[in-house]
Amino acid sequence: MDELRFSARVTSRPDGQADVRVRKRSFEVGAPLTFDNAYDGITAVEQLLGSLGADLVNGLLNRAKKRRVEIDSAEATVEGELDNALMYLDVVGEKGTTAIKRISVRLYVSTFATAEAVKAVWAETLQRSPLANTLKRAVKLDISMKIAI
C-alpha cells in the first residue's frame, strides 16, 4: 500500500550540506556527526535525535487533544551515545562500531491535568510512536516523563 511508504529525496551540495526534499517541503542536513561545537550545520545524528523528540512531543500533544486532556506544553531532551566515537574518526586500532548504542529521552509535560490522565495519554503515545517503536528494536531506548506545572 503506497500510503504506508514515506520517502525523502536527499541531494548533495558543494558546501557539504545536503538538501532533503519531502512532499512540498525541504530542509538541510550536514555531516553525519560532528565533535566540533562550532560546526555550522545540523548533523544527521542530531536530526535523528530531534526527530525522535518531536515524534514524542507532538505525538503526546495530538493524542492529549483527542482525549481532551489539557496539556500546556511539552519539551523533550534527547541524548544519544555512540558505541565507539573513535571509529568515526578513523583512529587506528579502535574496535566496535559507530552505531548509536543508547538513546535516552526525558520528556517534560506542563499540565494541570491529573497525573493518571497524562500517564494514560503518554502510554498511548509511546505505543503509537513510529520512531520510538523502530528505534527500540535497534538501540537501548530509555524514555522517562516528568510532569511539571
Partner: protein, 389 residues
C-alpha cells in the same frame, strides 16, 4: 523593628501556591486574565498564607511571595526595559548554549519552565517592586512584616545578558548603577510604609563560591560564564552596601543558600560559609539569614557584628523536624551568639519557584509549627536560666 519575643520565628519568603493561583499566573502571562483579576485571586491566597503563618505561631510574617512567579523574575513586570524570557527563548540568543543545557540537565527542568528577567532597554521603575505586598499585609495583620527583595548583585547578574543588554548598557557595572538606584528608591518607600524587616536574596553568592569547576546550577544568565570569584564577591558587597548607604534605619538581612530547586540534595551545592565570611562580614546588613538544617552548609559559625537568621528546618524534606531537634540546633548556635541575636527560620522558601515548589502547603505549615514550638521551649529555658542567675 517592633519589640519581638526572643528567638523570633520568621519565614525566608515563599509559600507554595495553590493550583488555582498557578493557573491564574499562567493565564495572566498569556494575556487571558487581567492584572486586576489576578490580584484579586492573589489577595485571597495571601490571606490564606497569612492565616496559616499566624496559626503556626510565626512572629514576623511574609506574604508567601504569592504574587510572584519566583523570588526575582517578578521584577520584569515592575520594571521598564526588562523582558521576562524563558530559557527556551534565551537559548536562541546566547552564545554559550552548552553551559545552559548543562544547567537545565542538572536542574532536570524544561527550558520553558525557567524565566529570566533580561535587560533589553534602559531600566526604570514602572511601579514599586514590593510596596503593594507590604501595604496589603499591613492592612491584614498586626504582626511585623518581612519583605524579601532580590539583591542588587542577583538582579544585575541575572538581567545583564550581554547578547541583548550591551546595546543599552556597555557593562554590568553600568547596569548596576541603575539597579542600585531602583532598589534605594524601593527601600525608602518600604521604610516609609512601615516595613519591619527587609531581606535581600542573594543566593547566587554560593554559586560564586562553591561551583568553580563544576556545572553551574543557578538560573542566572551571565553567571554561566562569569570569572574570578573574588572580583564577583567584591562587586556584590559593593552593590549591597551602596543600596543601603545613608538610608533611614531599618532592620535588614541577607539570605543566601545553596539552591532550592530540587528535593534531590545531591544536585544542590555544598560547602561551609567559611569562604564567604570575609565578604559577608563587610555587608552593612544587620542579619545573615542562613541555611543550617541541611548538612551541606556545615556547622554554625559566627559573623562579626551580625545577628543570625538560623535555618532550622529543611524545606525540601517531607519529614517534619522535631521541636527538640530544633532546640538542640539553637543550643549549639547559642555558643556563638547571644539569645537576642538568633531568629529562627527555615533554610529557604517553601515555594521558591512557583511552578516547582519543594513542599506542599501542609508540610510548610507543620514545619513552621515545629519551629514555633521550639521557640516557645527556648524562651522558657532562657527565662528560667535568667531567674537562676
Amino acid at each position: 523593628m517592633r519589640k519581638l519575643p526572643l528567638f523570633p520565628v520568621t519565614m525566608v519568603g515563599s509559600w507554595p501556591r495553590s493550583n488555582e493561583l498557578l493557573r491564574a499566573q499562567k493565564l495572566k502571562r498569556a494575556g487571558q486574565l487581567s492584572a486586576a483579576e489576578f490580584e484579586k485571586l492573589a489577595d485571597e491566597a495571601v490571606l490564606e498564607v497569612l492565616r496559616l503563618q499566624e496559626k503556626a505561631g510565626v512572629d514576623i510574617v511574609t506574604d508567601g511571595e504569592q504574587r510572584r512567579d519566583n523570588f526575582y523574575s517578578f521584577v520584569s513586570e515592575k520594571l521598564g526595559g526588562v523582558k521576562l524570557m524563558t530559557l527556551a527563548e534565551m537559548l536562541d540568543i546566547i552564545e554559550d548554549k552548552e553551559a545552559f543545557e548543562k544547567i537545565l540537565k542538572t536542574l532536570d527542568v524544561p527550558a520553558y519552565s525557567l524565566s529570566n528577567p533580561t535587560c533589553v532597554g534602559k531600566i526604570e521603575r514602572k511601579t514599586p517592586l514590593a510596596l503593594n505586598e507590604l501595604q496589603f499585609l499591613k492592612k491584614h495583620t498586626t504582626k511585623p512584616v518581612k519583605i524579601p527583595l532580590p539583591g542588587p548583585y542577583l538582579l544585575t547578574r541575572a538581567m545583564f545578558v550581554k547578547e541583548v543588554t550591551k546595546k543599552v548598557y556597555k557593562s554590568k557595572e553600568e547596569l548596576a548603577v541603575d539597579v542600585v538606584r531602583i532598589l534605594r528608591d524601593e527601600i525608602r518607600e518600604l521604610i516609609e510604609a512601615g516595613a519591619d524587616f527587609i531581606q535581600f536574596d542573594e543566593p547566587v553568592l554560593t554559586e560564586v563560591a562553591f561551583s568553580r569547576g563544576k556545572t553551574r546550577t543557578f538560573m542566572c544568565a551571565s553567571l554561566a560564564a562569569s570569572g574570578d570569584p573574588t572580583k564577583e564577591l567584591e562587586f556584590a558587597v559593593s552593590l549591597i552596601n551602596q543600596v543601603l548607604e545613608g538610608l533611614p534605619p531599618v532592620f535588614t538581612g541577607l539570605h543566601i543558600c545553596r539552591g532550592n530547586w530540587s528535593k534531590d540534595e545531591s544536585t544542590l551545592l555544598e560547602g561551609t560559609y567559611a569562604p564567604l565570611k570575609p565578604w559577608l562580614e563587610r555587608l552593612n546588613v544587620k542579619q545573615l539569614v542562613l541555611e543550617y538544617a541541611t548538612e551541606r552548609a556545615g556547622d554554625a559559625m559566627a559573623f562579626g557584628g551580625k545577628s543570625l537568621g538560623l535555618g532550622v528546618c529543611n524545606p525540601r524534606t517531607d519529614v517534619i523536624e522535631r521541636p527538640e531537634e530544633i532546640v538542640e540546633m539553637v543550643e549549639k548556635a547559642l555558643k556563638l551568639y547571644a539569645p537576642e541575636q538568633i531568629y529562627l527560620n527555615p533554610d529557604c522558601g517553601f515555594g521558591t519557584f512557583s511552578n516547582s515548589p519543594v513542599a506542599t502547603s501542609g508540610i510548610a505549615a507543620l514545619k513552621m509549627q515545629a519551629i514555633a514550638r521550639a521557640a516557645k521551649e527556648l524562651r522558657k529555658r532562657n527565662k528560667s536560666m535568667n531567674r537562676s542567675k
